[in-house]
Subunit: 204 residues, 2 copies
């Protein structure tokens, strides 16, 4: 739709815009959207107020750009595994990666997309739409792997890749939330192991 749109941006302008989004994403991940002021973003990105408002029509627009940015970042962090979730072994490797990523932060921060979703779903319809799209991409990657397995005849025909992918993403999100709150990876591991076991129950 728009995302980058606006008028044309100079090479320099694009760099400044990216710096703002990256700084905002980092701060909003750490303190939430409401806990991050535009002044904080300006300071972190090393830009002035007029610059921020030159590239974005206000905080809400900046937040939408942050959602897009974080969606890319989260999906990229799971590659190349995410694009090849077409075996139980691949799913387990992906599970291990996700768990290790959380352990690496000390279980802080939760899911960059999930946290934004919880904070914004009820108060910013445009943000919610962007989040639906982000989750759809994530779920789509999982679903594609499962569909490949079914297509190959490894999963029974009564396995529904779309529904399994939805349930897996739900387990992942809930596991991330509990892991964030409890500051231990056990809930995330348990949730993903459940999802994989459930998928494995459809193996031929």
């Amino acid at each position: 739709m728009d995302a980058v749109s606006s008028p044309r941006l100079t090479r320099k302008g694009l760099a400044t815009r990216s710096r703002i989004v990256a700084a905002a994403a980092q701060l909003m991940f750490e303190r939430g959207v409401a806990g991050t002021s535009t002044e904080d973003v300006q300071a972190a990105a090393g830009v002035s107020s007029s610059q921020l408002y030159h590239y974005f029509d206000g905080k809400q627009h900046l937040v939408r750009a942050v959602i897009v940015h974080q969606t890319e970042a989260v999906l990229a962090a799971q590659e190349p595994l995410l694009s090849r979730l077409d075996s139980i072994a691949a799913l387990q490797a992906w599970r291990d990666l996700v768990v290790e990523l959380q352990a690496g932060h000390g279980c802080e921060g939760g899911c960059p997309i999930g946290s934004l979703a919880a904070e914004l779903a009820e108060i910013d319809p445009a943000a919610r739409a962007e989040l639906v799209a982000g989750f759809a991409r994530w779920e789509g990657a999982i679903r594609d792997g499962l569909a490949t397995m079914r297509h190959r005849g490894e999963l029974r025909s009564d396995a529904d890749p779309a529904r399994l992918a939805t349930a897996t993403l739900a387990g992942l999100q809930g596991g991330l939330l509990l892991t964030q709150v409890r500051r231990e990876t056990a809930p995330l591991a348990a949730a993903l192991d459940m999802a994989i076991a459930h998928i494995a129950s459809f193996l031929v």
Copy 2:
């Protein structure tokens, strides 16, 4: 620990305090903590500023009281089923109830506790502690039902009630989040069906 503590409260004082917490809980459920000002709470509860600060040491303390309030409300809304999750049929009835509750709101709002958790986990350590306690009670209720099943010999001895309960709660939370964002109950239903199928896979 403290929760109600403070000095002694008159019958009337207790009623006023409850009104404030209930109003704050409702508003924070609809708009989030950051999106709810103390002025909003005052107006909704029909109290003055001095009253709010008479009963709470500030917004943070009020938020903690809201967490306790919502924990009670969420658990109560699932009774009497929640205390008797000791068969697959009981789990399915509970699943149906949870899904219907969400459908009843039009899938708005998500989980009252989960939303608070996502918003507060990183910015309010005291709130995080209260949320850990709230989730523990929820998970404990699920775990107790599963432990009963295992004790009766309905679940195999390699089933770990605590871990299954954690995974189920994770699925529930993630399902609620996706359901909130997508405005449809399918993700919640898929996640809970997965959890129940996983539990059923441990039946003797």
